[in-house]
Amino acid sequence: MESPKEQSSYTVEQLVAVNPFNPEILPDLENYVNEQVTSQTYSLDANLCLLRLYQFEPERMNTHIVARILVKALMAMPAPDFSLCLFLIPERVVTHLLSLSLIRCTGEDSWSCFELCLQQMEEQFKTLIVLSHYLETGRFQQFWDEAAKNPHILEAVPGFEQAIQAYASHLLSLSYQKVPRSVLAEAVNMDGASLDKFIEHQVANSGWIVAKEDGSIVLPQNEFNHPELKKNTGENVSLEHIARIFPILG
């Protein structure tokens, strides 16, 4: 018997697969984003579907939800999901939303209300874009500094820190056979005892080794940091393709 939570996500995924061009599923998709945040799951297809619907009907766009989608996309790095989402958010919409807040913010302190809306809207997207930029260019120190300045955006999404640390570890594994401890510390934003714990965990589960001489980390061997492991994939022909010529050969 599926738990209610599992049931609803099953239904949403089905909706996206079977009936994606339907404005009526918009509320379901919005709820699903919130669900992804709380249950630490992720669905690119559902989120792109929602962003498309926002593109078709910009008045219904919820910037809060969009910001959450963007944070989840950041957490999916190294996949290019963040860019994929940005491709679908029209600039004109931001301008449009600004004029909407002009209409909504009326009365005595309409100007401060408007300024607040403006700040919140612009800031959310601008900060996320800056954060993405730092991650895309391997500038982890700047990333963590900027993230620290915006706790409200990031603390709202559980698992964010761990996801970025996983991305940092991934990028280091592509590049280094052996990485100095200080470089690792900067990348995952940890030091001292918490860094030790992090490393211990990776040693136990991901094949990391600590070099005794200088405390640097020996990362697990893969085809990217150990060229000799690169498989010659060029000559693999799938069985499916070979099967097509069986009638000829037979």
Binding site: A79, F87, E91, P180, I245
Partner: protein
């Protein structure tokens, strides 16, 4: 025919009234020249007799010849005028109108009313097909033209609608009244409905297990049935890829194309326009997804194919479009190779053409200075699809033209990516020269400090290793490295030649030739 993809729709030179006929001395919609009479009568007969070859000839040759001779800058006779000659057949009239509007869009400038009427015609036509009551066999070329034109007219409408500034009051009123016409939901839902109702995805799946025949017969039905729904469903997958690219949703676009295996023969190859549209959009989507190697391989294959076969299409009405797409793909190839240099993925003949057209520009793009943005901008703008804003316009604000917004967003995103990759070519130059070098030394040569160099190296790794559709990391780098504490070791990768695919294709081809020869009876 979708012969022009000019960014600005050519403005209408004629008054609406003149175009509608009746008052214009030149065009009388009710006058049916004898040649047209003969044309529709024959076409009607061929369709009833399911003579696909003759229908194809009439579409490709006779229609063009008559258009050239009699209807160079006027529409064909109205459907009401020719209906009596074809027993007022409902379906034939829908088909005739489809051609009528296609001709109009190609030679003239459609009015808003005509755009709306064309949409209604497509709706009616697709409804008939979706209800499964059609038992015609139509040439693949025509079926592809229908889907292609449908998407083209949608794109054209979005461009038209986004230019609110100079709209007349009647136009605005008409737009408000007909919000369903060329509505993005309508267009997408029709394409999806064609895919689903035809069950083409299941058919392609079952074909792999030998339970269905589709590709082998080029989609035609030799057991007395109709190919129309199946083939329209098939081409609609390409249509959906195209619409999603226009919206900027490359990931979902590629998902729609997935059932079609572009490394193998398929019905998409049976029509050159479809083949090119498929690969162009596939390549472009992969470029935006940073999967440069995939884009380069496919562009290379299609450009080679066009190089070898374009002489056979010189007389075809699609020739101009073919040439345009060819040029655009060379531009995209130049962009991909500048961002992600590859030594062995491009065929010699394609390479020499590329050098001729873009050799100098590519050299400039690969230098890490600010001048290069201008060239990336130029090539991207020349070669990109005509992006659209799908939402309905606002009628309240001061009326503005926002038809360039979508394009500007995609361009901005693309240049943003180029900017992030700006420093990589500098690194590559050094990596080519050294087999190993200390971080300190390289930092010195590049005039940056060590921490900055580390971030540049990480950027290089990140940008040259893309994530495939299956989530696996693939290296696109022709020059790679790994770092051991403070030393960088350079690795030169050798891309393997794929002989397997080549041999499979040749085996199948030879078998085909031998079968053909067996069928020949010598007198």
């Amino acid at each position: 025919m979708t012969t022009t993809y000019d960014f600005e729709d050519t403005p209408s030179n004629y008054d609406d009234v003149q175009r509608q006929g009746g008052q214009d001395a030149v065009y009388d919609p009710n006058f049916v020249p004898d040649s047209v009479k003969s044309f529709v009568v024959h076409m009607y007969r061929h369709i009833r007799e399911k003579n696909v070859y003759e229908i194809h000839q009439m579409c490709e040759t006779s229609f063009q010849t008559l258009s050239e001779r009699l209807f160079k800058d006027t529409p064909w006779p109205s459907v009401e005028a020719i209906a009596p000659y074809v027993d007022n057949d409902h379906v034939f009239c829908l088909l005739y109108r489809e051609m009528w509007f296609r001709h109009l869009y190609a030679r003239l400038s459609p009015t808003l009313k005509q755009r709306i009427d064309s949409y209604d015609n497509y709706c009616s036509l697709f409804q008939v097909v979706l209800h499964g009551v059609v038992n015609m066999q139509l040439p693949n070329q025509w079926l592809w033209d229908m889907v292609d034109e449908f998407v083209y007219q949608f794109q054209s409408f979005c461009q038209y609608r986004a230019k609110m500034k100079n709209k007349t009051e009647q136009e605005i009123a008409l737009l408000k009244q007909n919000d369903k016409a060329w509505n993005v939901y309508g267009v997408l839902n029709f394409l999806q409905a064609l895919v689903e109702k035809s069950t083409i995805i299941q058919i392609l799946e079952q074909e792999k297990e030998g339970l269905e025949q589709f590709t082998a017969t080029d989609g035609y039905d030799y057991s007395g049935g109709s190919n129309v729904l199946k083939v329209l469903g098939y081409f609609s997958m390409v249509g959906l890829l195209r619409v999603h690219c226009l919206l900027g949703d490359y990931h979902t676009g590629l998902k729609w194309l997935q059932p079609i295996d572009i490394t193998q023969q398929g019905v998409y190859i049976s029509v050159i326009g479809c083949h090119i549209a498929t690969i162009y959009h596939y390549g472009f989507a992969n470029l935006m997804l940073r999967r440069y190697v995939d884009a380069v391989s496919e562009f290379n294959k299609i450009l080679l194919y066009i190089y070898k076969t374009k002489q056979y299409h010189q007389k075809s009405p699609q020739y101009e479009q073919l040439l345009k797409k060819n040029e655009q793909m060379y531009a995209l190839l130049a962009v991909c190779l500048s961002l992600c240099p590859q030594t062995k993925l491009v065929d010699e003949s394609v390479n020499s053409q590329l050098r001729e057209k873009y050799g100098e520009k590519m050299m400039r793009m690969q230098r890490c200075d600010d001048e290069e943005f201008g060239i990336y901008d130029e090539l991207f703008s020349y070669a990109c699809p005509k992006f659209i804003t799908p939402s309905a316009p606002s009628f309240e604000e001061p009326l503005v033209n926002y038809n360039q917004d979508a394009y500007r967003l995609q361009l901005k995103m693309f240049l943003y990516e180029v900017k992030q990759q700006q420093l990589l070519s500098g690194v590559r130059t050094f990596l080519k020269v050294y087999s190993s070098i200390s971080l300190a030394k390289l930092a010195n040569y590049m005039e940056v400090d060590e921490p900055t160099l580390r971030t540049i190296l990480l950027t290089y790794k990140h940008k040259t290793h893309s994530v495939g559709s299956d989530g696996k990391v693939i290296s696109n780098a022709d020059i790679d490295f790994y770092i051991n504490n403070d030393m960088i070791y350079v690795v030169e990768s050798k891309p393997a030649k794929r002989y397997g695919d080549f041999f499979l294709r040749q085996i199948a081809k030879l078998e085909g030739v031998m079968n053909d020869m067996d069928r020949i009876k010598l007198e």
